[in-house]
């Protein structure tokens, strides 16, 4: 009767793209929750309650880009354009593009199982994710 805990090492159980992405998708979801709540908290501290309508707060939460407050009648734009918010925005871009495109990939992979097609789709996914991330981050730091 063995009561010791049973473990299987990483090399024995295998580690692959799917193993990584499964954990990544879940953790990135939690990370985006965190970012959104920081965004909401930040917006409220900066006075969003009196300055912004709900839709704009939402947009700020999910993407703390000053573009998302420009249309609002905000007296002082400065606190909305700091490096901190640029980093926050970039983080969301990174998480959201990879999370979202991987979601798209896994929907496709449910149906398209031909191994070569699958490899091609995965390469495309990595490339597309990189490009989208670059675009997103570029916008974030230049606007």
């Amino acid at each position: 009767m063995t009561e010791k805990s049973r473990t299987v090492s990483l090399t024995k159980r295998g580690f692959n793209f799917d193993t990584f992405m499964w954990a990544f998708v879940r953790l990135s979801a939690l990370a985006m929750y965190l970012c959104a709540f920081i965004g909401l908290g930040g917006a409220l501290i900066m006075g969003a309650r009196t300055q912004m309508n709900l839709a704009d707060i939402m947009r700020w939460m999910f993407m703390p880009n000053p573009n998302h407050v420009l249309n609002t009648n905000i007296p002082d734009i400065a606190p909305w354009t700091t490096v901190f918010w640029k980093i926050m925005g970039s983080a969301i871009v990174l998480f959201a593009t990879s999370h979202g495109l991987y979601g798209l990939l896994s929907v496709l992979e449910d149906y398209l199982t031909e191994p070569r097609l699958r490899r091609a789709m995965r390469i495309l996914f990595v490339l597309l994710t990189a490009v989208m991330m670059a675009i997103g981050v570029y916008i974030m730091w230049t606007s």
Partner: protein, 235 residues
């Protein structure tokens, strides 16, 4: 009471595709759907074909779609499904005739996960049983209940999308051995299920858990496999 059954019919020797036929007959609310099917076959239409054996939910022969959801015909009473009943074969497997589907791909997937006990270490010297604590035995109790009826696998949208996906039933049986502390091939099985058509095609939809006539927590078992792959822990 009067019940009306709309049954999916397909005779491979005549038909190009399936069609529905409707039968109306007397039944008791406590009759099983299987009883009614038997009566239709016996009294009205001998050509109606379906599998059945034990008639009380243990052999797993008669998984079919009743009112659009996978069930065992022998574990479904008329009073639970109402007077208008639609009976169709399960989804995702080739229909051979009427309600009979080709189970071979299902069993092939089952066989892929090494669904048998592997322990090559010497037997206890007294020739008696290998010891196992009641707690360790309880760890995989739920998944030993599987009767391989296929209700779970054929309810799974991922399996509908592609039958390369091992499917819930195969994963349940992988779980049964991986979490048995007497077994020594957990690593091999984990490698097998650690595949794009293994556990990772499970999207936590819960159709399998709902469909399981043995009330196995299938999604939970698959979830435990995923966490075992992420953490390496089998407790």
């Amino acid at each position: 009471m009067q019940v009306t059954l709309k049954i999916s019919r397909y005779n491979p020797e005549v038909d190009k595709t399936f069609h529905y036929e409707t039968y109306t007959l007397e039944a008791e609310p406590t009759d099983r759907v299987l009883d009614v099917l038997e009566r239709i076959k016996g009294q009205y239409d001998g050509t109606l074909s379906f599998r059945r054996s034990c008639a009380h939910g243990i052999c797993g022969s008669d998984a079919m779609r009743i009112n659009g959801r996978n069930m065992l015909a022998c574990k479904t009473l008329i009073r639970d499904v109402g007077e208008k009943i639609t009976v169709e074969p399960v989804l995702g497997l080739r229909i051979i005739k009427d309600l009979i589907v080709d189970m071979e791909p299902f069993f092939d997937n089952y066989k892929k996960v090494l669904p048998y006990f592997i322990n090559d270490s010497p037997l206890p010297e007294d020739g008696k049983e290998r010891l196992q604590s009641p707690e360790a035995r309880l760890r995989f109790d739920d998944t030993t209940k599987c009767i391989l009826c296929g209700a779970c696998t054929t309810s799974c949208p991922s399996f509908w999308a592609s039958d390369e996906y091992l499917g819930p039933a195969a994963l349940v049986n992988a779980h049964r051995f991986i979490f048995d502390d007497r077994d020594q091939a957990a690593a091999e099985r984990l490698q097998i299920v650690n595949d794009v058509v293994g556990v990772w095609r499970c999207h936590t939809i819960f159709n399998c858990t709902v469909a399981c006539p043995r009330e196995i927590q299938i999604t939970k078992a698959i979830g435990e496999l995923k966490m075992a792959l992420e953490t390496g822990k089998l407790d």
